[in-house]
Symmetry: C2
Subunit: 334 residues, 2 copies
């Protein structure tokens, strides 16, 4: 049988127990040109919250009764598609279920002898690609820039900061709690860290970035975005990657009151969606893989177990009770 | 004697009668290298409200006791500067006073036989330059773009819309009241107009821009900015030129709740300050002058009289009781 998490009703505010349902269906046989993937790891990402809303966005919402959309890594166990063979390891969009059948278009092959499968859902998957293209193509960092990143201990933010360090920037991260801040500095080599749960963000930005910020990479929105805007330097770039503080709002999103800092500082605020860069994923993957091999880019995954724990694990995205890339392990090789 | 408007105290919210004071001082003699300008026209611009605040911005605030900063047009009546001679007409930063003495660095010569002096404070002055560089360099319009502009009947907005029409765009303007809307369509050739005082901005944007907006040029901020953000097309550009709806706020500026539309639509919001383009004013002036001569670019000035009426006239910027460029006439040739 195939255990699946399906969307049962659209949440208002924080998802609750009635948002999803765990069901069992027979494992489908792959048809002509299709593959059957046994899935081991499910990628849990803030963007998934957005896909629950019945609103126009960059992709359609997940439909009621449909398997919850997610990234996933696993192994092809049956193939009627000449591009895949049994035993191939793959990463793609399999959804939160133990087995997925597809035409293979949304999966690509990965090699777990180079890095573990979990890394393909994180640093070498969508979060890593988001970081890579966001900080390089949208943030347009150059040597000597002062870079501030929020959600800095997360799957995207941790890679953003490390790439900025590789490129010769001064990097300050914002994260929740002393453990994460210590991790940013001691493990990832950030120049400074701000604990937004225990410190004055405004004062600490002034202290750590006395000249202001050239690039702000925003994963969180809300008050932190406003504090960053207040500290922009001339011609600064603000990368809008996400706004996790606002995703469970029941009221309107908090708009950035300090947006006129864009005018005063001739600055730019630009949104991004990683899928636009799909044709360059290969180049980015190769470069990031090499940085990993050289020890310049570290990947950390926080893996919880059991498809029945999907709901509780998902909420860790919003409580911050996780470190690095959040992953749900739902199976393993025999 | 020289009648001058000086800043008496910094306003909180809408400036009131005690914000400025009209004083008389003896007319200064120009020193070595200096010129004495008799000023006929004072440019009244929304940016002047910002210069009253004691806050870090793109230029220092006007000091208490100082002559109120403004653009001005007049005639050189004494010159100890080889670059100017008596009788030269000039436009520059003379402030709200009948006579100004300066080293001439902030004045340039203009020719009232080509267009009237008032045009040099409007369409061929700072507002026109702001429109030109804002819509072309920041908005990056191209033929076929759908352009929305707020404050469309104002000094900047009216030029933005006309330039966009010249460049082959579809142009919708937002203005207050049926008279202004009629002016946009009948006189300036806009494709559509939205009367924000009497119509639903949201519904009318949907009606007039069913495919959405490629470029939004914002002079007003507030709710109108949010409505525009909600209608962005992919890769849209939002030009932040001003936020007149927010300048007299006693509370925090209203941030745009719909800023995540930048993410969904991979759009850019960028601020601008016209002074950055100073080296290209000549080129822009020539091009706009030619458009005026060809009848493609129309200029409208709304001229009120008397330096003693500075306060009441200034408030028209915020009440909207004016059409086109707001000017105060404070003198005339004998």
């Amino acid at each position: 049988m195939n255990q699946q998490i399906i969307l049962k009703e659209r949440p208002v505010g924080v998802p609750d127990k009635s948002t999803w349902e765990l069901i069992e269906t027979p494992i489908s046989d792959p048809g002509e040109g299709e593959i059957l993937v046994e899935q081991y790891y499910i990628s849990l990402d803030p963007a998934m919250r957005g896909w629950l809303n019945d609103a126009k966005s960059y992709i359609p919402p997940v439909g009621i009764g449909e398997v919850m959309r997610s990234g996933s890594a696993g192994k092809v166990i049956k193939s009627n598609n000449p591009k895949f063979k049994e035993g191939d390891y793959v990463y793609g969009w399999g959804g939160v279920q133990q087995y997925s059948v597809s035409d293979g278009a949304s999966f690509y092959k990965v090699d777990p002898s180079l890095v573990s499968l979990t890394v393909y859902t994180g640093t070498l998957g969508m979060p890593g690609m988001t970081a890579y293209f966001g900080i390089l193509e949208v943030g347009k960092i150059k040597k000597g820039d002062i870079v501030l990143v929020s959600g800095a201990a997360g799957a995207v933010g941790s890679v953003v900061g490390q790439i900025a360090k590789i490129k010769g920037c001064t990097v300050i991260g914002i994260a929740g709690g002393p453990e994460k801040c210590k991790y940013l500095i001691d493990e990832l080599g950030f120049d400074g860290a701000i604990d937004y749960k225990n410190e004055s963000i405004r004062d600490r930005i002034k202290e750590l970035c006395p000249k202001g910020i050239d690039v702000y990479f925003d994963n969180v929105g809300g008050d932190i975005l406003d504090h960053a805007l207040a500290a922009l330097r001339m011609h600064a770039r603000v990368v809008i990657c996400g706004a996790i503080s606002q995703y469970n709002n029941k009221k309107a999103v908090k708009g950035p009151s300090n947006y006129l800092s864009l005018l005063v500082n001739r600055a730019t605020m630009q949104g991004m969606v990683v899928m636009d860069y799909a044709k360059d994923y290969g180049k980015a993957g190769m470069e990031m893989g090499m940085w990993m091999a050289q020890g310049k880019l570290k990947s950390r995954e926080d893996v919880y177990e059991g498809i029945e724990n999907f709901y509780d694990t998902f909420l860790r995205l919003f409580s911050g009770q996780k470190m690095g890339k959040l992953i749900l392990k739902i199976g393993s090789e025999q």
